[in-house]
Amino acid sequence: MGLKDAQKGPVMPAIHLVKLEKLFDWGRKNSIWPLPWALACCGIEMMATYASRFDLDRFGILGGFPSPRQCDAIVIAGTVTKKIVPVIKRLYQQMPEPKYIIAMGNCANSGGIFYYDSYNVVKGVDTVIPVDVYIPGCPPRPEALVEGFLKLQEKILGESAAEK
């Protein structure tokens, strides 16, 4: 609230505030720590993306913090079933703001290959929690996950912390 209102005030301080805000946005953009949580097949590709060849650490994306309290994002990598929905909701609530969700793979986007005829698969994780970036593919290649993270960085730069 404070930052947003201040922007409407006199011109000079607003510029400084915007600059400071840009700096903070830059910080958030370059330090996304996702929760390392492999649900299904996409989880293996996610692990491969952290590993040597693709190395998400290059972008400051660090997957070494297993507690949701220290994380900024969840990569929902895999099929979401009805039994896991309460857990996802709870993890989302445990994460401190600002937080982001990446839906990785067709299952997390829509149910994918298990859309028809399955009695236990949720048709997209966005029916449960808000999703920021969708990555299609079954499973997506590591390059696609990197692209997803870059898209998330763009999104973070485009919004301000006060609005989030």
Partner: protein, 130 residues
């Protein structure tokens, strides 16, 4: 590996299993069920590792009273398999120490692998998909 299949009545199931176990069928491979229009068919897969032999035991089960004797007393491995069959088919195993659902939450209604399983949340695949 040699294969053979034996069909037994439900009354003789327990005796047959015990007999096979004493014959050297030390390895429990699986137990599952098939939902036919008029009956269930329980299928056991048992392996004799010494003789390299696998035996399938098929037992028809009436739909009115889907109850079978548990084989957890003979092979410990039957525990989870029987819970799975109970979860997906609704066949109860008598003498099982912990007859709960295996995969689905307890509040789930119905047994999904039965052919007559209906649920509003299941979206049927369109026929022109083939």
């Amino acid at each position: 590996m040699n294969e053979r299949a034996i069909c037994v009545r439900i009354e003789d199931l327990k005796l047959t299993l015990e007999h096979l176990h004493s014959e050297g069928y030390n390895y429990f491979s699986f137990v599952t069920a098939v939902d036919y229009p008029d009956h269930f068919l329980l299928v056991y897969g048992l392996v004799n590792t010494g003789k390299h032999e696998i035996t399938f035991i098929e037992t028809p089960l009436s739909k009115d009273k889907p109850v079978a004797p548990s084989s957890t007393g003979i092979w410990k491995g039957a525990d989870w398999h029987e819970r799975e069959v109970y979860d997906l088919f609704g066949i109860t195993f008598e003498g099982h120490p912990d007859m709960r659902r295996m995969f689905l939450p307890e509040e789930f209604e119905g047994h999904p692998l039965r052919k007559d399983f209906q649920s509003d949340e299941v979206e049927k695949k369109p026929e022109d998909f083939y």
